[in-house]
Symmetry: C2
Subunit: 319 residues, 2 copies
Amino acid sequence: MQELETYFSTLFDGRKPETLYAPIAYTMQQAGKRLRPQMVYHVVEMFGGDVSQAQYVAAAFEMLHNFTLIHDDIMDKAPIRRGLPTVYQKWNTNSAILSGDALAIMAFQQLLKLSVNEKTILQIANVFATSTLEICEGQQYDMDFETQEEVSLEEYINMIRLKTAVMFAGCMKSGAILAGADQESQEALYQVGINLGIAFQLADDLLDVYADSSVFGKSLGGDIRDNKKTYLYLMAIQEADAEEKPKLKQCYESSDLDFEDKFRQVKAYYERLHIAEKTRQAIHAYLDKSFQELDKVKVNNEQKATLRKIIADLEQRSK
Amino acid sequence: MQELETYFSTLFDGRKPETLYAPIAYTMQQAGKRLRPQMVYHVVEMFGGDVSQAQYVAAAFEMLHNFTLIHDDIMDKAPIRRGLPTVYQKWNTNSAILSGDALAIMAFQQLLKLSVNEKTILQIANVFATSTLEICEGQQYDMDFETQEEVSLEEYINMIRLKTAVMFAGCMKSGAILAGADQESQEALYQVGINLGIAFQLADDLLDVYADSSVFGKSLGGDIRDNKKTYLYLMAIQEADAEEKPKLKQCYESSDLDFEDKFRQVKAYYERLHIAEKTRQAIHAYLDKSFQELDKVKVNNEQKATLRKIIADLEQRSK
């Protein structure tokens, strides 16, 4: 992974106009967790593929991820990301739109740098493009949900599948294609990514309310403060009885309550309705599905150890 | 070209969420001039290439063009395009950002639909990606120029080369690649596009001041009203003497003058400095270069007739 940081540290140097590329360099140098490139590397290594080529695929997905963050932060009016001002805040909205566009194109250009056979490049490009379009669809659903009166759990899962999970799935499948894996393993890894990605987002929703805040790294209850329709809230709405439902809704949408009161009251509903437990069960079920799909991948058990650990770590994190 | 309209008329049907795809369909169904796809078709026909495949390349560039319009209109705060409200006006900025993103990806996906050999697809994808990134660079320069004190004619030409001409060039070169043309012809056609594109933008600048407004289709003087640093203005600044230059500048940047007065005064400077004539000379020179490059293309003269006519028409239009 160090070579990826080295790669990013010079990729945007000397490009003109500087006003276009400075916001891109700024974003890409905030290292984040680099979760998506790790997945690419792990899968390529799992099949004993060419790790030097993996860099371009890993870079493409990480750049794609950061492009979505730059544009999403405009749409969500998010002032801070990774402890620093977001691009549209530090520069301006126009700059964030255009730098995001340029970053998306540069992401795609990484795939064109691959020195492997053309068919492989095109297969990866196909996965990449499909994932990218689905991510836009997911973001649109997410925005639509803000004003949509009723959102079902099924709709919510579909939204996070698109917005979050297809990129995990795309990373894994692309790694498998690059490493020359058979089609069944490619598909299985795609499903590993989908289920892991959904679990990842559900864990995020859970931790926003129930994390140990000294470990979590951001203050709790942000979703509740912002009236965000999370898995926990939508599950609570589903589980609440006819009397409780409108009360919970009113409380969640209230702008009169001060934050501490709102957080406490919403948590009381969640506790009465066993929402944390039910969310943990859902996470467990998705991770279980992820393990099952990993079983189908045609390499030996030892080679699956790293991915198995990633899945297990997420289970641990959400306990 | 009719098959392209038919293609666009169903390409966005039935996709979900409708909130993402409705702005795309709205934009793509305003037919515009379809200049860029025409260039692709003309070049493919010139070499006797497979016109059925040309559709995907033509669609890709037209979609790319429309993506840039959706995002540019946000940045330029343009309320009207082709006589209709722009996307961010009809929907909202978030919608325009995200629909633009999705349209850009769909543009790229068109190339992946090509049924030709993989190497050809990747070559076209390379041209397409490079053009797209350069268009972003051009748009950034254009925005930077708004607040930049001094802009040279050379900087301006570089900006319009990136913002406008590389897409013409990309269309022509991609058409040549698709048709299996030799590399020298590919490069020559790229240069035909560059020079034609620059001439096209200079003609646009000229017509904004000097068109027969009954033919032009939009009211005159918009660039002067918006203090836009056009070729005409920058040429006038270059040609003005030490005494005249600050006066012209003050007049152009003035927000006190009413539009009719400003338009008349700026035109008086342009007339004294022979700006229209000098702009026509520049257009002529770029079109001449375009003809010279077309001469290098290795097909017989008859096959060049359509492109020759396009170049000649632009000369006629700017007279």
